[in-house]
Every structure is written in structure tokens, then in C-alpha cells.
């Protein structure tokens, strides 16, 4: 195959864009890294989430909103193609507030974001304790729960099914996916880019770097300097339980099979991806303040993953000025943004030009010299 585009990275971001390109009849070659690479796509919590996003950059809220609005159609197309159920549900989502102060702070944070967006009808509201209890009839709330914010567009999906379906979709649409093909080098040339992986090289007129935390070193080779750091998130998983939580919350979600996922920590511990007892204790403590009966549930699993964090936590979408045809797509919300990546981003990369609406996500926003 002579690919038109090489996608470096088969995580949720790279796979979604590659799937979108394959849907548009582009010949796409996806190069996946090694088993031991950091793989955020396999540690993900599985929220398809909107409320509260973009408090420092309202454009990020709007971007997420576009993706969330497309998610249902995206999921059903992918299921039709692959036969895999993404277990997507969009019944709204909750962020619990422990104490009245936290409740008021949540309200004012969401109101400020709402005001910055200007004009749009609110798709969220604050629920007091009584309203919250009605929404969760099987949960006896802990005494500290003052209420929650409810986002009506929020939802959740099975992130591993999503990843498997994207990979399957790429193959079914005629794309190629190579595993254990970590990329060492990208060499720009007249005809495009030559990419070295394993013992071989492949070439294409375009290349997309979507290699998560490995992207920084690769992007530098095409003239893009992207500040990036890992942020550790740990998750606990309970045994399977009868349905308890009818909708996901920012730190708790019950999967269709019945496990309750408890997340997640935000730790600045570099590339250390170990799971810790301290995090298990902290997550358990917080969870029991919200749903005390979970004390009866057995924990069966704990893991840690590394988020792909930019300095402002928002995505980076960029094309190299120096080497046209080289693109970068990075974010830590690959599940929420998957629908957008498979459509808007795939269209843009196919066209060779990112739309103006994505200018704000160029990494040049980080180039401002630091004040002394």
C-alpha cells in the first residue's frame, strides 16, 4: 500500500482520526507503538463529558459540545460497521458537591463559564440534595453531599470497546494498522515524509502525530515545539453490582456489566505509572462520603494511567508551518472528542488545512515569553 497519510499512534485520538480518514476513502497507514508504551487509551475512565470543561478556554467547551452532539451518530455508525457495542449512554451526568461551599463554588464556576459563552441556553443545572436523591433512588447519599451539578449532555461509554471498534473500523475500511511499530524518526522530504519504524521506512505525503506523550519528540522533528507533561490518574474498580447508579458522575460510573469505576487522581509524578495504596485510600474515602454503602463492595482492580497534559489542559491541533503536511493532534479527552476527531479533524487533515475554528488550539499559544 502507498499510504496518502501515515498516522503515528493508534490510541483513541490517532485511531479516531484514522478511522475518519478511512471513511473518507483515504489510504491510511496507522503505526502503533510498543506494548510497554504509556497507553492512556487503555487506562481511560470512559466519560463522554461536557459540563465544566473549558473554564480557562471557553472554545474548548464549544469544541467538546460539538463532539458530544455528534457522539450518538458516531457510535451507531461505528457499531453498524464493526458489530461492536460501545455501550454509549447519554442520560446526563453529575458532579457531586461535598458541603455547601463546594456547591456554591460549583454553581459560580459553571455560571462564569456560561456567561463567557454568551447567550446559549444552559444545558446544566444545580440539583439540591433532595432533587439529587430523587435522581438516584437506589443510593443513600452521605451526610456531606450538598447536591450536584447536572449536565444534560454528559454520558459515558466503554473506552476499550471504543478503541477496539476504531481499530476494527480502520481495517474494515481498507486501512492498515501495524502494531509494535514505534516510530523513531520522521524525515521531511520533497515528496512528503519518510518515517522510520522498526527495521523499515514508510513514506507518505502527509503525516499525523497522535502519539500521546511520545508526541513531543516526534513533533520537534517536523518543527513543532509542544510543551507536554504526564499527569497520573488512578482508578479503582469494584466487583459487579446490581444497578445502583443510573447515570455517570465525574468520579463514579457504573458500567453496563455492573462494576463501579472510581476515579480519578490528578498527580504530578512524572512518568511513574505505578498504582499506590495512598491513592486507593484517598479515592475510597471520598467515595464513601458520597455513597457510604459502597463500603460493602469489594475492590477488584486498581490501575494508573498517564494523562497527556498541555500547560492549559486543552487540546493541541496544529500543522507545521515549516513542513506543510505534518499535523499534530493531542488531548487528554480522546473519548469525548472522538466523534469530532473522526469527522472535523479527519476532514481538515484530508483537505491539508485546519479550519480557522481550530486556530485557538494551535500550540503557538504557549510561545508567549515568560515574564521575568
Amino acid at each position: 500500500m502507498h499510504p496518502e497519510i501515515i498516522v503515528i499512534g493508534a490510541g483513541t485520538v490517532g485511531a479516531a482520526i484514522a478511522y475518519g480518514l478511512a471513511r473518507r476513502q483515504h489510504r491510511v497507514l496507522v503505526l502503533d507503538g510498543d506494548d510497554r508504551d504509556h497507553r492512556a487509551a487503555r487506562a481511560n475512565f470512559g466519560l463522554v463529558w461536557l459540563q465544566g470543561k473549558g473554564q480557562n478556554m471557553p472554545a474548548y467547551q464549544q469544541l467538546s459540545r460539538r463532539s458530544v452532539d455528534m457522539w450518538s451518530g458516531f457510535a451507531s455508525k461505528l457499531t453498524d460497521l464493526t458489530g461492536l457495542d460501545l455501550q454509549y449512554e447519554q442520560n446526563g451526568g453529575l458532579a457531586f458537591c461535598l458541603g455547601e461551599d463546594a456547591f456554591e463554588k460549583r454553581r459560580s464556576d459553571l455560571q462564569r463559564l456560561h456567561n463567557q459563552l454568551g447567550g446559549a441556553e444552559a444545558d446544566w443545572r444545580m440539583l439540591d440534595r433532595a432533587e439529587l436523591a430523587r435522581l438516584l433512588p437506589k443510593v443513600r447519599l452521605g451526610p456531606d453531599v450538598a447536591g450536584a451539578s447536572f449536565g444534560e449532555r454528559d454520558g459515558h461509554a466503554n473506552p476499550l470497546q471504543l478503541l477496539a471498534a476504531l481499530h476494527s473500523g480502520i481495517l474494515r475500511l481498507g486501512g492498515e494498522l501495524r502494531r509494535n511499530a514505534a516510530v523513531r524518526q520522521i524525515v521531511p522530504s520533497e515528496a512528503g515524509f519518510t518515517v522510520a519504524c522498526g527495521n523499515e521506512t514508510v513514506s507518505a505525503p502527509r503525516v499525523l502525530i497522535a502519539a500521546g506523550l511520545g508526541s513531543q519528540a516526534l513533533a520537534r522533528q517536523v518543527g513543532l515545539e509542544i510543551p507536554l507533561r504526564p499527569q497520573r490518574g488512578q482508578i479503582l474498580v469494584t466487583e459487579r453490582l446490581e444497578p445502583l447508579l443510573p447515570l455517570p458522575t465525574s468520579g463514579l460510573r457504573q458500567t453496563r456489566e455492573g462494576t463501579v469505576m472510581i476515579g480519578a487522581t490528578h498527580e504530578e509524578t512524572g512518568f511513574d505509572s505505578s498504582a499506590t495504596a495512598a491513592a486507593a485510600a484517598d479515592l475510597s474515602r471520598r467515595t464513601l462520603r458520597i455513597v457510604p454503602s459502597l463500603a460493602e463492595a469489594k475492590l477488584v482492580r486498581q490501575w494508573a494511567g498517564l494523562r497527556i497534559m498541555t500547560p492549559d489542559g486543552c487540546p493541541v491541533y496544529a500543522q507545521s508551518q515549516k513542513h506543510r503536511g505534518a499535523f499534530v493532534a493531542l488531548c487528554h479527552s480522546g473519548v469525548t472528542l472522538a466523534a469530532l476527531h473522526a469527522t472535523v479533524l479527519a476532514d481538515a487533515i484530508a483537505a491539508g488545512q485546519l479550519p480557522d475554528s481550530l486556530d485557538i488550539f494551535h500550540q503557538s499559544r504557549f510561545d508567549v515569553p515568560k515574564a521575568a
Partner: protein, 97 residues
């Protein structure tokens, strides 16, 4: 059907689904379950297929049962005590509300 190879010198009684059963003090509780006529210990939470104690070393989680009122106990990690009660666990657990 499994049976014990020796006659224990001492015996205790445990109650499996309410039925008194003879066991050796300190023996592995899952081994006691394997000697019962209904050898299976639980249906799986999602598909409901029957599972019996399997690995006997705390790895496979197929021997879960409710022991003295505590659910999802790995019976293969539990030494027998006199008067212990064991109940089959039905599919997914319901938390007390």
C-alpha cells in the same frame, strides 16, 4: 464428586445453604464446598453460568460465596471454623441501602 482421603480425627460443623456439613478444623472452605452434591458455588454476574471452586489458591475468584453474612468472600482463602455459614451468591450483588 470429591471426598476426603482420610477420616479427620476431629470434626466441626459448617452450614452450607443451611444444611449442616462435617468438616475438618482449619481445612479450606472451598474444599468443603467441592464435597457437596451441588458442587457449584455461584452463577456469574453477567451471563449467569455456574462456577465452582477452581484454582484453590486465591487467583480465579470462581469460589466466591457469602460467608457468615459477608458477600464475595474467596472461600478458598478461608479456613473452616465451627458454626460457619456459607450461602451461594446469586448473580450481581445488591448493596444494602
Amino acid at each position: 464428586m470429591f471426598r476426603k482421603l482420610h477420616e479427620p480425627a476431629e470434626a466441626v460443623t459448617v452450614y452450607v445453604e443451611g444444611k449442616p456439613v462435617v468438616a475438618e478444623p482449619g481445612e479450606n472452605l472451598a474444599a468443603v464446598l467441592l464435597r457437596q452434591e451441588a458442587i457449584w458455588s455461584r452463577p456469574t454476574p453477567v451471563k449467569g453460568s455456574r462456577r465452582a471452586p477452581y484454582c484453590m489458591i486465591g487467583v480465579c475468584f470462581d469460589c466466591l460465596a457469602r460467608v457468615d453474612g459477608v458477600a464475595s468472600v474467596q472461600t478458598c482463602m478461608m479456613p473452616v471454623r465451627d458454626g460457619m455459614t456459607v450461602e451461594h451468591q446469586q448473580r450481581r450483588r445488591c448493596l444494602p441501602s
